[in-house]
C-alpha cells in the first residue's frame, strides 16, 4: 500500500497516471485497480477530495432533470445506480429522502408537467405532481405560498467526503500509488510514454488521464487540446445547526426556470440543514471564499422556503467552484494517438456520476490501446460511520467494550471519539490537515467550531504527525 506525501517519485513507468484525486480521479483509480495495472494517482494538494469534491450540495441525483441524450444524462443515471449500491456495500452514509421541487408561482407550477415528462425521457418514471395541500402535509414547516411540487422519490443525500475517501482507500489497498503534494507541471509526450514534471521529480506513464477538475482545461492544453475552457461558477452554502433537522424531511429543490436554478434546502447526512448554492461566474479558480452579498441573498431565499430555518444557529459557511465550460455537456475526450483521456467540465453532478464516469474512462483507455488484462476481485472496504442515520461509535456498547477509546468523546458537538480520530490518523489514506480530520470524522465540524475541542483535536493530530515523522526518519 503506497501513499506518499514527500520525497522523489518512484523511478518506474506506470501503465496509467491520473492527474487529480477528486471524486472523479479517485473513482477512476478505483475502477482501474480492478486490473493488474501499475497506476499512479497524483494530487496537487495534501489530501484526496480537497477541491470541488469537498464543497458541494452532496446530493445523489437520479438525473431526472438532465438534458436527455447527453453523455451527462447517461452517466448520472448510471452513476446513481452504481453509487447507491456501492454506498450500501462500503458504509458511505446515504439517505434516500426524496426531493420536492416546490413551485412558488404560476410559472413554476406550469413547468412541473414538462419536468415530469423530461424525467420520463431520462428513464425516470417515478415522479409525482403534488398539489399545495399535499406539499404542506409533507413539509409542514414550509413557508406560505407553495402552489404545488414535483416529487422525485429517488433523490438522495450522501456523504461526499466518505465517497472520495472510499474510492481512494480501495484503490490504494488494491495497489494504486497515491502521490499527494504532487502538482503536475509540464508534460512531454513521447512515442512510448508521457513525462510529467512535478516538484517531486518526473512521473512517467504510458497512459494519462486528466481529472484535474477546475484545471482540466490547462492540462488539456498541455496535451495540445483546446476543446473547452473552464469558467469557475461559485456556489456558496450555509449549513445550519442540527436543531434545524426537524424542520425538513425532503430535499427541497427549486424549479428550474429561465431565470436559473435557484437555491435548495436540504438535510445533510450529518443531521444538519443546508441552504444554497449561489451561482456566480468568476474568473479566479481559487475564489472559494464567501461574500456578504452571497450570504444575504441565500438568507433571503431561505426565509421564503423555510422561515424557521433562519432562527437556527449557523454551523458553517463554505463555497465550492463548479468546473463549468462553454459546453452544455461533460467534456470527456480520448486522444488515442497520445494515449490520453481528458475528463473535464464535470460541473454540478460529478459526485453522482463518478463511478459511471470511471467506467466510461476505462473503456476509452481501451480505445487508446490500454490492454488491462483480466479483471480481478478487489478487497471490499468498509468505511467509518459518520452519518446520523446509522449508530455512531459513541452509541455502540460493543465497540466501547472492545476499545474504551470509542467511549471517550473528544468533539462534543459532533460526538466524535478519540478512537475514531486515532483510526483516521492511521488509516490507509491519512488526513493531511485538521480539515482532513474534519472530513473523515466530523470532529471540528459542529456548532462550536472548535471552542471546546479545537486544541485537543489539534494535539492528537500533531502527536500522530510527529510519530509518523519519527518513523519516516528512522527509515
Amino acid at each position: 500500500m503506497t501513499v506518499t506525501t514527500t520525497g522523489d517519485l518512484p523511478d518506474e513507468v506506470y501503465d496509467v497516471a491520473i492527474i487529480g484525486a477528486g471524486v472523479v480521479g479517485a473513482a477512476i483509480a478505483r475502477e482501474l485497480a480492478r486490473y493488474r495495472l501499475r497506476i499512479a494517482l497524483v494530487e496537487a494538494s495534501n489530501d484526496v477530495g480537497n477541491g470541488t469534491s469537498k464543497a458541494n450540495t452532496a446530493i445523489l441525483h437520479t438525473g431526472f432533470d438532465a438534458t436527455p441524450g447527453t453523455l451527462e444524462a447517461r452517466l448520472v443515471r448510471e452513476g446513481y445506480q452504481r453509487l447507491t449500491a456501492y454506498a450500501a456495500e462500503t458504509g458511505i452514509p446515504l439517505e434516500p429522502l426524496g426531493a420536492l421541487l416546490v413551485a412558488w408561482d404560476r410559472e413554476q407550477l406550469a413547468a412541473l408537467p414538462s419536468l415530469a415528462e423530461k424525467a420520463a425521457r431520462n428513464g425516470y418514471d417515478e415522479t409525482v405532481i403534488l398539489d399545495a395541500d399535499a406539499v404542506h402535509a409533507r413539509e409542514p414547516h414550509l413557508g406560505p405560498g407553495a402552489l404545488g411540487a414535483l416529487e422525485v422519490p429517488g433523490e438522495s443525500i450522501i456523504c461526499p467526503w466518505t465517497t472520495t475517501l472510499a474510492y481512494a482507500t480501495q484503490a490504494v489497498r488494491a495497489g494504486v500509488d497515491l502521490h499527494l503534494n504532487c502538482p503536475a507541471g509540464a508534460i512531454t509526450t513521447g512515442a512510448d510514454h508521457h513525462e510529467i514534471a512535478t516538484p517531486r521529480g518526473v512521473l512517467r506513464t504510458r497512459h494519462l488521464v486528466n481529472a484535474a477538475g477546475l484545471y482540466s482545461d490547462e492540462i488539456n492544453r498541455r496535451l495540445g487540446h483546446e476543446e473547452f475552457t473552464v469558467t469557475p461558477r461559485r456556489g456558496q452554502l450555509i449549513v445550519f445547526d442540527k436543531f434545524a433537522r426537524g424542520l425538513v424531511d425532503h430535499i427541497l429543490l427549486p424549479v428550474p426556470t429561465a431565470l436559473g436554478k435557484g437555491v435548495l434546502v436540504s438535510p445533510t447526512v450529518y443531521g444538519n440543514v443546508m441552504l444554497g448554492p449561489t451561482a456566480e461566474d468568476l474568473d479566479d479558480k481559487t475564489a472559494t471564499g464567501s461574500s456578504a452579498d452571497g450570504l444575504a441573498s441565500l438568507r433571503e431565499k431561505g426565509a421564503r422556503i423555510l422561515p424557521e430555518l433562519l432562527e437556527e444557529e449557523v454551523t458553517a459557511v463554505y463555497a465550492g467552484l463548479r468546473a463549468a465550460t462553454e459546453h452544455g455537456d461533460y467534456q470527456i475526450h480520448a486522444d488515442p494517438g497520445r494515449r490520453y483521456v481528458a475528463v473535464g467540465g464535470i460541473r454540478s453532478t460529478g459526485l453522482t456520476a463518478s463511478m459511471a464516469i470511471a467506467a466510461h474512462v476505462a473503456e476509452l483507455l481501451g480505445d487508446c490501446g490500454l490492454d488491462p488484462g483480466p479483471e480481478r476481485e478487489i478487497e471490499p472496504v468498509r468505511m467509518p460511520t459518520i452519518g446520523e442515520a446509522f449508530p455512531r461509535p459513541y452509541q455502540r456498547a460493543d465497540l466501547i467494550a472492545a476499545d474504551p477509546a470509542y467511549g471517550t468523546v473528544v468533539c462534543h458537538c459532533e460526538r466524535v471519539t478519540r478512537g475514531e480520530i486515532r483510526d483516521a490518523l492511521t488509516a490507509t489514506v491519512p488526513p493531511g490537515s485538521l480539515d482532513g480530520i474534519r472530513r473523515r470524522t466530523r470532529a471540528l465540524a459542529g456548532r462550536c467550531q472548535g471552542f471546546f475541542c479545537g486544541a485537543a483535536v489539534r494535539a492528537q493530530f500533531e502527536a500522530a504527525t510527529a510519530a509518523q515523522d519519527r518513523t519516516e526518519a528512522r527509515r
Binding site: I238, V239, F243, T286, T288, G289, S290, S291, A292, G294, L295, E313, V314, T315, A316, V317, Y318, P391, Y394, Q395, R396, A397, D398, L399, I400, A401, P404, A405, G407, T408, V409, H412, C413, R415, L434, R447, C448, Q449, G450, F451, F452, G454, A455, A456, R458, A459, E462
Partner: protein
C-alpha cells in the same frame, strides 16, 4: 455484549456539567445530606471554563478572595468531593430516555441514569466566525477565546504572531493576556460599539502595557488568506473601510448557552438568553429539571455561576422532599434595545430572585436609562438606573414589584428609555 447494552442506575440528584455552577450545587446538596449526588462532565478534567483561564480574577463574590481560574476550579472540585458528591469526568450526557432519565457515554460503556432531580449546568460558548456570518476565505488562524485559551494554557500550542481581537468586553481582554503570553502581538481590538465594555482600568492597563489599539464602531466584513489568515477587513460605521494584516483572529464574546441537552428534552427556551426559561428557583418547564450557571445567562462571571449553584440547592431540596412542581407561570420579556433578562419566569406570590434582583443585558449603551416594568399595559415599576448600562455587562433590576403582577395576566414586559 450487544451494541445497545446499557447499565441502568438511579441517583437522587444528577448534575450535568462540573463547572463552577454544577460543582457548587452538588457540594451544597451533598453537604445537606442528600445521599447520592452525582456530577458528570464530558471533559477529562472537571472545573469547567476556569480550568483553562490561566489568569487571576476568580472567586470574589462567592469565596471572598481572588484567585486564578485553575485554582478556583480546584477549589470547587475539592469542595464538592469533600462534601460527598460523586464526580465523574470523561462522560457525556448524550440525551434523554425519559423525563428525568439521561443516557450517558463514557469509556466504561453506555449508561442510563434516572434521578429524582436533574440539574443542567452545561455552560455557554462563544459564537464562532461561521455563526456570525463573517464572509471570506476559510484559512487557519481563526479562533474563539475558548479555543485560544485551551491551545495556549492546556496544550501549549503556537497560535501565530500577530492577532486581531474581535470584541472589547471582559473576555476579549483575557484573550489579549493569553495572546501576549503566547508571544503574539495584538494588532488591534475591534468592536462594533462606540466604546470598550470592560472596566476602564482594565482597558487602560491593556493599552499601556501591551500597546493595543481599540477600533470602535467597526465590524469585520471579510477574512482573507488561503492556507493561513492574511488580513481582517473592517468597515466603520461611517462607511470607511480598512484592512489589518494579521495571521490570527480571535472572535470573543457573542455567547450562546450550550442548551443542547435542555432543548433535546423539549424544555422551553427563553427567547432572549436562548437558555432554558427558569423562575427564581431555577426551575425549568420540565418537572424535576433545574438549570444553573451560564446556561441561564450568557455570560456572567464564574462566581455568579457558583452562587447560582449555591442558591439552587434549597429549591432542589424542596423538590426532593416532595414539594409539588409549580414553576413560575408568568414569562418576563425584554424589549429592544434590551437583550435578555434572567430569571425570566415568575410567580407573583413566589420568592424573589436570589439577592432580590434580576440580571439584564442591553445591546447598546444606555445612559442612566429608565426601566419600566409593565403587564397588560399596567405599570408595575419604573425606576432610573443609577449608572450607564453597557452592552456585554450585567446591570440589575430590583424585584420588589413582583408581588404586584397578576398571576393570570399576560407576560411581564421590561422596557428601557
Amino acid at each position: 455484549m450487544t451494541p445497545t447494552d446499557r447499565t441502568h442506575r438511579t441517583v437522587d440528584v444528577l448534575v450535568i456539567g462540573a463547572g463552577p455552577a454544577g460543582l457548587a450545587v452538588a457540594a451544597r446538596l451533598a453537604a445537606a445530606g442528600v445521599d447520592r449526588v452525582e456530577v458528570l462532565d464530558r471533559e477529562q478534567r472537571a472545573g469547567g471554563i476556569p480550568r483553562h483561564c490561566d489568569h487571576t480574577g476568580f472567586g470574589l463574590r462567592d469565596l471572598r478572595r481572588v484567585m486564578t481560574g485553575p485554582d478556583y476550579a480546584r477549589h470547587h472540585i475539592a469542595a464538592a468531593i469533600r462534601a460527598g458528591a460523586v464526580l465523574r469526568t470523561g462522560v457525556t450526557a448524550t440525551g434523554w430516555a425519559a423525563p428525568r432519565t439521561v443516557d450517558i457515554t463514557g469509556p466504561t460503556g453506555l449508561e442510563r441514569i434516572t434521578a429524582t432531580a436533574v440539574v443542567l449546568a452545561t455552560g455557554a460558548r462563544e459564537r464562532p466566525r461561521s455563526a456570525r456570518l463573517v464572509p471570506g476565505t476559510r484559512p487557519a488562524g481563526v479562533f474563539t477565546t475558548g479555543q485560544l485559551q485551551q491551545a495556549v494554557h492546556v496544550h501549549h500550542q503556537s497560535v501565530g504572531h500577530r492577532a486581531v481581537i474581535v470584541g472589547a468586553e471582559r473576555v476579549s481582554y483575557s484573550a489579549v493576556t493569553t495572546l501576549r503570553r503566547a508571544g503574539a502581538e495584538v494588532a488591534a481590538m475591534v468592536t462594533d460599539q462606540p466604546r470598550h465594555q470592560t472596566h476602564p482600568a482594565r482597558h487602560l492597563g491593556t493599552r499601556l502595557r501591551h500597546g493595543v489599539s481599540l477600533v470602535t464602531d467597526a465590524t469585520v466584513t471579510e477574512l482573507t488568506g488561503r492556507e493561513r489568515l492574511e488580513s481582517v477587513r473592517l468597515r466603520h460605521r461611517d462607511g470607511r473601510t480598512a484592512a489589518i494584516g494579521c495571521d490570527t483572529v480571535v472572535f470573543t464574546g457573542d455567547w450562546i448557552p450550550d442548551h443542547e441537552l435542555a432543548r433535546s428534552a423539549g424544555i422551553a427556551l427563553d427567547p432572549g438568553t436562548r437558555g432554558p426559561a427558569t423562575d427564581p428557583e431555577f426551575r425549568t418547564g420540565a418537572p424535576g429539571v433545574f438549570a444553573v450557571g451560564n446556561l441561564l445567562h450568557p455570560v456572567e462571571t464564574a462566581d455568579i455561576a457558583a452562587l447560582d449553584g449555591r442558591f439552587a440547592a434549597a429549591p432542589v431540596l424542596r423538590h426532593l422532599a416532595g414539594v409539588p412542581w409549580a414553576p413560575g407561570p408568568l414569562p418576563v420579556r425584554v424589549e429592544a434595545p434590551l437583550l435578555w433578562i434572567s430569571p425570566n419566569r415568575l410567580t407573583p406570590d413566589g420568592p424573589r430572585p436570589p439577592r432580590g434582583r434580576f440580571t439584564l443585558r442591553t445591546t447598546r449603551f444606555l445612559t442612566r436609562p429608565v426601566l419600566t416594568v409593565s403587564q397588560d399595559g399596567r405599570t408595575l415599576h419604573r425606576g432610573r438606573l443609577p449608572h450607564t448600562a453597557a452592552p456585554n455587562r450585567p446591570f440589575h433590576l430590583p424585584a420588589d414589584w413582583i408581588a404586584g403582577a397578576d398571576a393570570h395576566g399576560g407576560p411581564v414586559r421590561i422596557t428601557a428609555d
